[in-house]
């Protein structure tokens, strides 16, 4: 609901908001420029009388003296019957230069507040501000939902695509500025259209009694001697030939009149509270007189074009993923039912694949959103629930009503069910909602067709394996081969290989790739900008590799960053593994098709806190990348497990180098196949518990990379280690201090 509102508002008022933002950015620079040119310091020590006294000789035909909120002093005068305006120095009253308003600035201001369309334009601008406000609010609510609560709003953001992450991250930064601009702008619009009473304080009545005698020298006027220059806004001189005219003075406090003959204040009206409120809001909106605020607001507004662009991308991707299920049977006639819980529609792609596979195997399949749970499925023999999890174990959009609906349909005969959860292991409640659904069905007494399976980051392999298991259960082989849309691949060429582990039956290779030679420039663009550079990636990101004849990519953690000039991975040969065997048999000079998938959550935190790296086997890959790039020598401690130091001690030489040049502060290894000192990496952790606790209390971050079994063992060991200091892995995970890259 909120998301829909957010998209509709953003898309429909796109142009309105972008124009407001861009003009706002340019206007926001003015207060700083003006402030840098004005002398403000010390002007509270000079009185208006002193200043005007000096001005009197310099500008005999002065008509008006003005001080802008930035502190620029302007005199308006007539010379030779021609109007002129100069900027002046408050201390010396010397002329700095002529004062001009550029037509561009006026134009820009009008574009910003009325799209150059006067009253209709001002209404449109008010709408633009309202949309901005609603976008900020709905965006915040979505961020909060996604983070799992207000408390977690400023935790690191996860997101599957770059545009999504940028949209959330940048939006979060700009939020306060955008809210402030929108609210204050809206307030000013409301006043323009008189929804809020006019702010202006009534001018004091023109004095009835004016001395009318010989005008006194302005520098001697008592009233002006009490007003410091810093308080002045405007002083309008009396009309030269009019002895009964007066000085009109406007200060920070109010406005009044001064008798030109006696120099006494004749009337003074302090501003009312409405005007003070308006002026405060005006200042917050324009940053006039608050240059640093103007810059903050300008920077916030500068994000709007980026937010628009990334927002469109996120919206378009979600829209493209909207399911179009063909041959969808009606609920009453279906023998198989698929219910889908999806937040951004990516789960629908998997559901469609399952739907089609069952369909071509001759089943009558009904696929619908989980919210559309029917009262009864009279023919159904099996129910599949494919669902993502939103935020902190909550239901995704298309499943929000599901548990409520399920409780309502009390008398349905039970149907064997299988739940397939989709999620990201990095979230503390991985597939938490899928688990809730499975529990609810179990509580209802429905039999499980298959144990609940969970798919990490849209893994096509896990999905295919689940399909095989389902096939066995229902007695019909099922081939599921859904791949989420892949980015374009690049061709890489194997440049170097180092083999380990043959002797301990764990053949493992470090493979280094560069861009393939044959990717010759084809167009003028490529010729001009030789694109034979590696795409950008950091150590810890993933490379998706498509083995020949397969559409399902395999992901490997990157052991290098693109700045290293090579793409390095560490691959263990798996019995019967299509991709690992392909890579192991690859000769120097042969090529692969690959693409980069960002994995920004798995990176050492910036800052001075220590980093504990834990891994086993090829899990060392990204960890060595982190150590290699630890140029600022943060304290990094590595715990790593292998089989035999003589055979599969990956990167042995490099690690020793890093120890000696302090890129690595401590190295702890465990080898499972040697008689003395045998054990796993988690055993090593337990031995070193004291040290690890000390590091954690010193705000250390933990990065774990390796197989699932090892990761589980590490969690158990870490919980034991953390118990005495009343912490556990879950708490560290929520704080973003325990990150895993597990396969």
């Amino acid at each position: 609901m909120i998301r829909k509102l957010h998209s509709i508002l953003g898309l429909s008022a796109l142009l309105l908001v972008v124009v407001l933002a861009i003009t706002g950015v340019i206007l926001s620079i003015n207060p700083t420029i003006e402030r840098s040119q004005a002398s403000v310091m010390g002007t509270s020590a000079i009185t208006v009388a002193e200043l005007t006294g000096k001005l009197a000789s310099r500008y005999p035909q002065i008509e008006q003296l003005q001080r802008t909120p930035s502190g620029t002093l302007i005199v308006f005068y007539t010379d030779n019957n021609q109007a002129g305006a100069d900027r002046i120095d408050p201390f010396t009253a010397n002329t700095i230069g002529p004062y001009t308003i550029t037509p561009f600035k006026t134009w820009l201001k009008n574009l910003h507040r009325s799209y150059l369309l006067d009253t209709p334009g001002r209404i449109a601008v008010a709408l633009g501000a309202l949309v901005m406000l609603l976008l900020s609010i709905s965006g915040t609510l979505m961020l909060v939902n996604r983070a799992g609560g207000w408390r977690y709003l400023f935790r690191p953001i996860q997101g599957s695509t770059l545009s999504q992450r940028l949209h959330s991250q940048v939006g979060r930064l700009a939020l306060i500025g955008l809210l402030l601009s929108a609210i204050t702008g809206l307030y000013m619009s409301l006043e323009t259209f008189e929804f809020i009473p006019d702010h202006q304080t009534a001018e004091p009545a023109f004095p009835d009694q004016v001395d009318g005698g010989e005008p006194a020298a302005i520098g001697s006027m008592a009233a002006l001697k009490t007003i410091p220059v810093s308080e002045l806004r405007e002083l309008v001189y009396p009309y030269p030939q009019d002895a009964y005219d007066v000085y009109s003075i406007t200060t920070q406090q109010g406005m009044g009149f001064i008798d030109q003959s006696t120099g006494q204040l004749l009337a003074f009206e302090p501003y009312n509270s409405r005007q003070k409120i308006y002026e405060f809001i005006y200042m917050l909106h324009t940053g006039e007189g608050l240059w640093w605020l103007a810059l903050i607001l300008g920077l916030s507004a500068l994000t709007v074009p980026l937010m628009t662009w990334t927002g469109i991308q996120v919206w378009w991707r979600r829209r493209r993923a909207i399911p179009r299920i063909s041959n969808n049977s009606k609920a009453p006639s279906a023998d198989s039912v698929i219910l889908v819980g999806s937040e951004n529609n990516s789960t629908w792609g998997f559901a469609e694949n399952l739907h089609n596979a069952l369909n071509s195997a001759g089943y009558r399949v009904h696929t619908a959103a989980m919210n559309k749970l029917a009262d009864t499925y009279p023919q159904a023999k099996r129910l599949f629930i494919l669902t993502a999890t939103y935020g902190d174990g909550d239901a995704p959009a298309s499943a929000k009503q599901f548990l409520k609906r399920l409780a309502e349909v009390a008398d349905t005969p039970s149907i064997p069910f299988a739940v397939l959860g989709f999620g990201d292991r990095q979230f503390p409640k991985f597939c938490g909602y899928a688990q809730q659904v499975a529990d609810a069905l179990k509580d209802k007494g429905w039999p499980a067709l298959l144990a609940t399976e969970m798919i990490d980051r849209q893994s096509s392999q896990t999905f295919a394996r689940w399909g095989e298991a389902i096939g066995q259960e229902i007695g019909t082989p099922l081939t599921l081969d859904h791949t989420p849309p892949q980015p374009k691949t690049v061709t890489l060429q194997l440049a170097e290989r180092i083999n380990y582990g043959e002797r301990v039956q764990a053949p493992t290779s470090v493979l280094r790739f560069k861009m393939a030679d044959q990717s010759q420039p084809t167009g003028w663009f490529q010729t001009l900008f030789k694109t034979s550079k590696l795409p950008h990636f950091e150590a810890g990101d993933l490379v998706g590799i498509l083995p020949p004849g397969s559409v399902i990519p395999r992901y490997y953690s990157l052991a290098s960053a693109s700045v290293d000039g090579v793409l390095e991975i560490c691959v263990r040969q798996v019995q019967g593994g299509l991709c690992s065997n392909f890579l192991h048999n690859l000769n120097i000079g042969e090529t692969i098709e690959a693409f980069i998938q960002d994995n920004p959550q798995f990176r050492p935190a910036s800052g001075k806190q220590p980093i504990i790296l834990i891994g086993a086997g090829t899990g060392l890959g990204p960890l060595i990348g982190f150590i290699r790039n630890n140029k600022s020598r943060h304290p990094m401690y590595l715990y790593w497990g292998g089989r035999n130091p003589d055979s599969d001690f990956l990167y042995e030489q490099e690690l020793k180098t890093y120890l000696s040049d302090q890129r690595l502060s401590g190295l702890n290894t465990a080898f499972s196949r040697i008689p003395k000192d045998s054990g796993y990496v988690q055993d090593k952790l337990l031995t070193d518990a004291e040290h690890i606790r000390a590091l954690i209390q010193n705000n250390a971050q933990i990065l774990v990379c390796g197989g699932r079994k090892m990761a589980g063992g590490v969690v158990t060991a870490m919980n034991d280690i953390l118990a005495p200091i009343e912490l556990d892995v879950t708490a560290l995970k929520t704080a973003g201090r325990y990150r895993e890259d597990v396969y």
Binding site: E63, A83, T102, T106, D242
Partner: protein, 156 residues
């Protein structure tokens, strides 16, 4: 381009019915290309001593900005009864405003002056941008203003 403003016929005839001898006077005010927003313009009559007599025309929609037409504002006391039905749109830079209205003969050749005050947002206010006597001789004569007025003339 000309911005032509005519007092509605009913009011005009009412005015002429009240005044024994009235005539139709046209005031033409051309603005400079001063490069700002639309100008607020006050056209009013004073006596020889400069004391406010009556409002002829106020260009500008929002009364809250009228105080910037300072000479006129002082004289009229900004009372809306002084300018009711005598207001119109502000005048853009470089444009010409033409106002035609019926004026009592007693104001002509009797020492009365036409004054023009102008004001533009974020720019200076011009009290007495133009001051000319309202005389038969003055018909068709063009006067340059001190502020935003390029030229001013009247005819009857």
């Amino acid at each position: 381009m000309t911005n032509r403003i005519l007092i509605p016929a009913a009011i005009a005839s009412l005015l002429s019915a009240m005044a024994a001898n009235a005539r139709e006077v046209t005031f033409t005010t051309e603005l400079k290309s001063y490069g700002g927003d639309g100008a607020y313009v006050a056209l009013y009559l004073t006596n020889e001593a400069g004391q406010y007599q009556k409002t002829l025309w106020i260009a500008g929609e929002k009364s809250k900005y009228y105080k910037h037409l300072s000479g006129w504002a002082r004289g009229s006391g900004l009372r809306s009864s002084e300018y009711d039905a005598l207001t119109g749109a502000s005048v853009a830079a470089g444009k010409t405003m033409t106002v035609t209205l019926d004026l009592d003969d007693s104001f002509i050749d009797s020492g009365y002056q036409v004054r023009v005050d102008t004001a533009v947002e974020d720019m200076r206010d011009n009290r007495n941008d133009v001051v000319v006597s309202l005389t038969t001789e003055g018909v068709g004569q063009t006067t340059a203003g001190r502020g935003y007025v390029q030229s001013f003339s009247y005819s009857f």
